[in-house]
């Protein structure tokens, strides 16, 4: 029982980071029609901002988190205005490779701006924990899960019930039509990139205390977020979130109960088999293509 609970708590925390990253990727996929390979790198860059503020000015973790979310917002807007917008007419695959160029620029800039030493970031709520049936549950974990779920809930509500949410949905359905209907699609994609960058940064801030702030800190999150998106289906916003928690739970329990070495391999293979029978994921629908 204690083992199951421990795996569950752990998976909920890692699942939240995957879900945040996956939502960002799905948002960009829907509004800009490109797979953002740089989602992890953008988050990492802004986690460095938090790290250096904490180290040099001694601000509290809450304040540096806020500051790094603001810089994330700005990074998203800059990337959309100067790189993604001008590439509107570029082919689909070339557009994806632009985000690879972005990774190289960011990963190259990090040592120049912040030096080569990794930074440390503390947890939001350090120390305190509670025992539930033999498994320790840290308050920080509870906080992380609550914030992520709250944020995602807000996003779902926003997309379903507000004018701007409607604009996002219309842009996702067809950018050209949306533009003709007077939807400011430029602003929509800009805000999408900004919020995706913020979600990536939040994931980075959650991951950072477990190791350190280093250029590869979000590699696993980035790849898992892609997997979650495919498992859940990219056509809905709920799909990637559900997929994230399934992947986190499956990987943790496979590593614990089956095998440390083969756990991930087994889970990935099972998902591939699943994809063969449901090619658009759990919640996804087939896009109707006119010939």
């Amino acid at each position: 029982m204690a083992d199951i609970l421990r795996i569950l708590f752990n998976s909920l925390q890692t699942g939240s980071t995957y879900a945040l990253a996956a939502l960002g990727i799905a948002l960009i996929w829907k509004t800009s029609r490109t797979t953002n390979f740089a989602q992890g790198s953008i988050g990492t860059l802004n986690a460095y901002v938090a790290g250096i503020l904490l180290l040099s000015w001694g601000w509290s973790i809450w304040l540096v988190a806020l500051a790094s979310l603001v810089t994330a917002f700005l990074t998203g807007i800059l990337i959309d205005t100067f790189i993604i917008r001008p590439a509107a007419k570029v082919g689909a695959i070339s557009k994806q490779i632009i985000t690879l160029g972005l990774i190289m620029v960011i990963v190259g800039l990090i040592p120049l701006l912040f030096g080569v030493d990794p930074y440390r970031l503390p947890s939001f709520i350090p120390g305190a924990s509670v025992d539930i049936a033999g498994a320790t549950l840290r308050y920080n974990t509870v906080f992380v899960i609550a914030v992520s779920l709250g944020l995602m809930g807000f996003l779902f509500w926003f997309i379903q019930n507000t004018r701007w949410g409607l604009a996002i949905r219309v842009t996702a359905a067809s950018e050209t039509t949306a533009k003709l209907m007077g939807v400011p699609t430029r602003t929509v994609t800009m805000i999408s990139w900004a919020s995706a960058a913020m979600m990536g940064t939040l994931a980075a801030l959650i991951v950072a205390p477990q190791a350190s702030v280093n250029p590869n800190m979000l590699l696993d999150v980035q790849v898992s977020a892609f997997f979650a998106g495919v498992l859940g289906g990219f056509t809905t916003f709920a799909g990637p979130v559900i997929g994230s928690f399934i992947i986190a739970f499956a990987r943790n329990s496979a590593a614990f109960y089956l095998s440390d070495i083969w756990g991930n391999v087994i889970v990935y293979s099972l998902i591939l088999v699943f994809l063969y029978f449901k090619p658009y994921g759990l919640c996804g629908k087939k896009a109707v293509k006119k010939v």
Partner: protein, 348 residues
């Protein structure tokens, strides 16, 4: 490697022959690259520079396979790094088991070719971003196996001197033998280019292109999706694995942790930046993405070279979305219009 007779006939004759027989272009390129095998021995070039060219050659072989997928078939794979790793590490394992080099290479190619066939079957059901990420799954599964399964060792597999055809023993540490290894890479590269040229100019190439434009139209014309999807993915994986085998041959050790998504993305970048559907363009892409940063920029710019090559990718894609190889057409057009203008203005 006999370009001298043409050269004596004058430049325009050479250009005409090259245009008529594109395979000769690749041979000429190979001949130029072979010069770099000799230069270090004359003290005109560092041996490390030769290794950079060797690496560029290996990357080109892999990227050619990727171009079959991306350029000709309109498919994408994010698992390439896994297959390069399969070539390098597979050779390591089989050679340590005592298999002769040729047999080991064949075994590795058959194994990864059948994995490629599996992906081909998979691609009939799954499409677009889902297919791309399905191949990323394959790449990650392979990477997990390399890093955590004990037979692949810890950080890397040390291969040591290789014996080719049962008598030619080549050791990477000895400079003369390293040049021979480099020459083998270039020969394989030229062979890969000629082979690909023949493949895409044949019925198969036309079928692949038909499939990439419209699956439904291609099927209506009697193109079997199953057959050509398999062809595309098997060719791409075999090219990628050959790159890995060449890596094992030249560097004679195979790292286990290097085969991440970033390598796969770099390979795609080579095709995108160099030029879709262009064989010379693929080589150009490998030079721009790998060769240039390592040959020049590292010395000139130091730490900032990585940022620069990232920015270069973005800029090239923004201005040459079909590939950098088309820069020649633009230059030619500029030249022609300039000529016309001076021609019409002269009588006034």
């Amino acid at each position: 490697m006999s370009d001298t007779p043409h050269a004596s006939n004058g430049r325009s004759a050479l250009l005409r022959v090259l245009r008529e027989r594109p395979a000769l272009q690749f041979v000429l390129l190979g001949a130029i690259l072979l010069v770099f095998a000799v230069l270090p021995h004359l003290g005109l070039m560092r041996f490390s520079t030769m290794s950079i060219f060797a690496y560029t050659g290996i990357y080109t072989v892999v990227a050619l396979g990727m171009n079959i997928l991306l350029g000709f078939s309109g498919l994408i794979s994010l698992g390439t790094a896994g297959f390069i790793g399969a070539g390098a590490l597979g050779m390591g394992v089989f050679l340590q088991m005592g298999l002769p080099f040729e047999l080991a290479a064949l075994a590795v190619l058959v194994i990864s070719g059948s994995l490629g066939a599996l992906i081909g079957l998979f691609s009939l059901k799954v499409e677009s971003i889902y297919l791309a990420i399905a191949t990323l799954f394959i790449g990650e599964i392979l990477r997990q196996i390399y890093t955590s399964v004990p037979i692949f060792g810890g950080e890397f597999i040390s291969i040591g001197p290789v014996k080719l055809f049962g008598f030619l023993e080549l050791n990477q540490i000895l400079q003369q033998q390293r040049s021979v290894l480099y020459a083998i890479i270039i020969l394989v590269l030229v062979a890969a280019m000629v082979l690909m040229h023949n493949l895409v100019k044949s019925r198969t190439g036309r079928a692949l292109m038909a499939m990439s434009r419209s699956e439904h139209a291609a099927q209506a014309m009697g193109v079997s999706l199953l057959k050509y999807r398999l062809t595309a993915f098997i060719t791409a994986t075999v090219y990628a694995t050959s790159g890995g085998i060449l890596y094992a041959l030249y560097f004679q050790n195979a790292p286990t942790r290097a085969w991440t998504l970033n390598i796969s993305l770099l390979i795609i970048a080579m095709v995108v930046v160099g030029g879709f559907k262009s064989i010379i363009g693929t080589f150009l892409g490998a030079i721009i993405i790998y060769g240039l940063p390592n040959l020049l920029l590292k010395d000139l710019l130091g730490d900032i070279s990585y940022v620069f090559s990232g920015a270069l990718i973005i800029v090239v894609i923004l201005f040459y979305p079909r590939g950098f190889v088309f820069v020649w057409q633009d230059i030619k057009r500029l030249f022609v219009t300039a000529k016309k203008r001076t021609g019409t203005e002269a009588p006034r």
